[in-house]
Amino acid sequence: MNQALLFSVFIVASCGLAYELIAGALSSYLLGDSITQFSTVIGSYLFAMGIGSWLSRYVERNLVARFVQIELMVGVLGGFSAAGLFFIFVWFSTPFKLALYLAVFGIGVLVGLEIPLIMRILKRDLSFKDVVSQVLTFDYLGALAVSILFPLLLVPQLGLVRSGLLFGLLNVLVALWALWLFREPLRNSGWLKTQAFVSLAVLTIGFAAAGQFTSLAEAHLYADEIVYNETSPYQHIVITRWRDDLRLFLNNNLQFSSRDEYRYHEALVHPALATLPGARRVLVLGGGDGLAVREILKYPQIESVTLVDLDPAMTQLFSTAAALRKLNAQALSSPKVRVLNADALKWLEDNDDVFDFVVVDFPDPSNFAIGKLYSAAFYRLLEKHLSAGALAVIQSTSPLYARQSFWCVVATLESVGLVTTPYHALVPSFGEWGFVLAGRRAYQPPAGYSVETRFLTAETTPALFQFAKDMARVDAEVNHLNNQALVRYFEREWRQVIR
């Protein structure tokens, strides 16, 4: 009997920690800033447990029956916490934090009640020192087991929603077990048994239906364009919204913030396109968010824009979700725009089309796979797709934080015979950002802009092309496929920045 109760301490403790971890993980996942989320969730949870322990003094009779009821409540509330919070976040974005802390508080109070009650049940047969020693030992062991299993097995295999439901089921099973262990003193508790079996059924159904629930939530999300979270075969796409600020993260790297993306995209497109009145055909590589296309379409002479982005999930998202369509001015739905989901390298190899302006807007060269998209071989391929007077612009990471990386891109473009014009602009959410113009002839910056801009003016344009002393050119190797010099520079330089 006592061993059985101690084992239930182990289970109860693991469930208790699991709910805490689930709430912490869910909030950092959805809101970001994991340090704040985990600190506040753990803090409120422990505080609530304290309240629960204090409240336990008011439970005076029918300890076992109360314990069973508490287990059932913890099981249902805790079990559905992840699903419920996710649901609230998706359907009503604003009260999410309120719901989160209410849930954390409620579960915390109930979990805080559990251990004092068990200790009191055990006190009947054991001395005080044995009760404290044994109960707390199993309490901490249960916590250890979950803290190891949670990141290694549960989240990767089951996900947060189903992990939560699994622990809810465990709580209910403990309650059923208690009902069986104490079947003699509880022989008149038919109602309690009914509650337990209903809880068991509800959680089991929840567990079985969890997969459908997740896709339902995402489908709703899609129409409501509030946030988005999807792991496509290529990357993890997350869109966050905070007041009027929409942010796109790919593999946890910020791609834009709607508050200052116009600075980035104007700087990417206009210095080149304002000097190409004869440009008709434009190619955009990467840039599935359609924001560069939005800037390009401001020029009435442009007849066609071909957008090649690897990930259909990206281009589909940015051509269907209302808030994102608003942001890119429905650029991806324009009849002038052709969206292709293909590997840019393969597409350039397989095609003969030439363009008057090419935007190369790939993620930063943080691994060998992306490093290929900044190689001499790639630029040689790119050059074949430039018409006689064409220009290409390449997003080239930060000349301030990754100085040698930036000048490595310049050196690589020059190595294939292109004339380069490096420049930079300040984008607050990124910092000082760099671009390189490449063409067959020398480039002259535009005297002014015929299209509407928020950032660029004729007067400030010359400053884009001036590099301060701390960003001035440094020697860098050419980035070849067989040396991947850029990835090595980039890794070293950004590691220093993060420190």
């Binding site: 190891i148 590997d343 840019a344 390298l345 060998f368 290929k372 067989n482 040396n483």
Partner: protein, 545 residues
């Protein structure tokens, strides 16, 4: 299992499959085929029950064998404007140890998978690479430019050791200072060999025929690589593993068996440089060295038309009446044809000589002094890249420390693609550490399923889900994959017999050099072609100086 291997396996399995808790359920073995060099026709050689010739055909120059030696002979003949030759090949495809396969995912090698940057003395290799458009500018430049698509992309190689992938193959994590000092001394010795010139000749040249004949160097051919290392005071286990790996990889033979001259040659001969790559970069393609086979074959076809007869077994060679009669069994037509050759270039392995040649007792005896390493190559078609242990990221050549295999190369590594999708891993294993006869018996007896299981078990260490992602596993056996450069072979009397010029017969196989390298096979082929042209009084420009 190493301790760190164990711990990381434990972590990955999420404590779910503790060793000792019963065998984990294993995915069924992927389908595949057991392929290999045609064993049946070769066995018919021994049975000697093939029919007599039903027709005779005169051939001014006959080349037997269309591996790199034979193709290179044909290439040189055709380039010199001489088209009256015929190449016959036992296998269904030309290429020998430079053959490749292809499926819906990628091309992949069936044997050799790379060519080091050619040395300055490898003039014929440079000439071929220039013709194929891979070497740009002056083929004789000290540091030519190469087509970037052929230069192996970074990262080139990595090693899995103690549960961790490191960059490069020479072990460096947790290696003691004393062992690192031995590494430095080893490389200093190799460097001295690299620098050494005796007159015009490098100590260890590639092709090897151009090497110095200084007695102290030739004496290295009389001891094993292991004994040479120990004599230099080099006993570091890590260094011995590394050198042993190199010997198994290039010669299919252990460090304790391979000649020190050959072992040092591997390290000291590679002096090629490039304008656009580090000197240790290699040239490779998805199909390994298949592009060289295809390049040679196409070059011949463009100049001389179709000169290749495949699937044909030469079973008798006899000098009769001033010509060389070569009897050829064609299993498809079920007939024997006699080819009456004015000149014969034998570009097939030398172990066939005793079974085929009439008379020529000295040559037959000499051929018996060659021994051959059995090999196994497996191609694993994968639905996606497997999960990977921590450390250096996926390279082209991926080696497992302390493993019977030689690791695997990734066929799609050179693809200009951003996202790795499906791929083919080519796994290599030399059946070394036993007699070649034992190795061949194992090759003969082991089923494909048994090989597949062994290989997947080995690769499971760094890639826990390799079984789940392998959709096909083809095993390619080669019972006589390459000559083994044992002490005494390279600078002994017997090999010299095959290198000599004869009035109507020349040998043009890598075996004539004593080891199977593309550069050697090509040199022997071109040399045989040039000697033949000279004998026939045809003019040509030499490719060999």
């Amino acid at each position: 299992m190493e301790r760190r291997d164990f711990l990381s396996a434990l972590a990955a399995a999420g404590l779910a499959s503790l060793p000792g808790c019963g065998a984990p359920a294993q995915a069924a073995l992927p389908p595949g085929a057991l392929l290999g060099t045609a064993i049946d026709p070769a066995h018919r050689l021994r049975e000697r029950n093939l029919p007599p010739p039903s027709a005779t055909r005169e051939v001014p120059v006959l080349i037997v064998g269309a591996g790199i030696g034979g193709l290179s002979a044909g290439w040189k003949l055709a380039k010199s404007g001489f088209n009256d030759f015929l190449m016959v090949e036992l296998e269904a495809e030309a290429g020998g140890n430079s053959r490749s396969g292809r499926n819906e995912v990628s091309a992949f090698p069936l044997a050799a998978h790379y060519l080091p940057l050619p040395t300055r003395e490898a003039t014929a290799v440079r000439e071929l690479l220039a013709e194929l458009g891979v070497l740009h500018g002056d083929p004789r430049a000290a540091r030519p430019r190469y087509d970037e698509r052929y230069l192996c992309a970074t990262p080139q190689e990595r090693l899995y050791r103690n549960g961790w992938w490191q960059e490069g193959i020479l072990p460096h994590n947790g290696v003691s200072a004393a062992e690192l000092e031995q590494y430095r001394r080893f490389y200093a010795l190799i460097d001295a060999f690299k620098q050494r010139r005796d007159g015009q000749r490098r100590a260890f040249a590639l092709p090897m025929a151009l090497s110095s004949r200084a007695p102290d160097l030739l004496a290295l051919d009389r001891l094993s690589m292991r004994d040479w290392l120990l004599a230099q005071g080099l006993d570091s286990p890590q260094l011995h593993w590394y050198v042993d790996y190199a010997c198994r990889d290039d010669y299919g033979t252990n460090i304790s068996e391979v000649s020190a001259w050959a072992g040092i040659h591997y390290f000291a001969c590679r002096s090629g440089e490039a304008q656009d790559a580090a000197s240790d970069t290699v040239l490779t393609t998805p199909g390994g060295n298949g592009w060289l086979t295809e390049g040679l074959a196409q070059s011949i076809k463009a100049r001389a038309g179709d000169r290749l007869l495949t699937g044909s077994l030469v079973f008798r060679v006899a000098e009769e009446g001033g010509r060389t009669n070569v009897d050829l069994w064609q299993p498809e037509q079920q007939r024997t044809v006699r080819l009456s050759a004015g000149q014969l270039i034998w570009a097939a392995p030398l172990f066939l000589v005793p079974h085929v040649f009439a008379g020529q007792d000295t040559l037959k005896l000499a051929a018996r002094s060659f021994s051959y390493a059995p090999w196994l190559v497996a191609n694993l078609t994968l639905s996606r890249f497997p999960t990977d242990r921590a450390g250096a990221s996926m390279a082209w050549d991926n080696v497992l420390y302390d493993s019977p295999g030689l690791g695997y190369v990734v066929s799609t590594h050179q693809q200009m693609r951003m996202r790795p999708g499906t791929t083919v891993f080519t796994y290599y294993r030399a059946l070394s550490g036993m007699s070649p006869q034992q190795g061949r018996a194992i090759l003969q007896e082991t089923t494909r399923k048994a090989w597949a299981d062994q290989i997947l078990t080995e690769l499971e260490r760094p890639h826990p889900d390799i079984r789940q992602v392998t959709t096909r596993l083809d095993v390619f056996r080669n019972a006589h994959a390459m000559a083994r450069p044992l002490p005494g072979l390279i600078w002994g009397q017997q090999r010299a017999l095959f290198a000599a010029d004869r009035p109507r017969l020349r040998f043009a196989h890598a075996d004539v050099s004593g080891f199977s390298l593309f550069e050697e096979a090509q040199y022997r082929g071109v040399l045989a072609a040039e000697r033949t042209l000279h004998r026939l009084g045809k003019s040509f420009v030499t490719s060999l100086s």
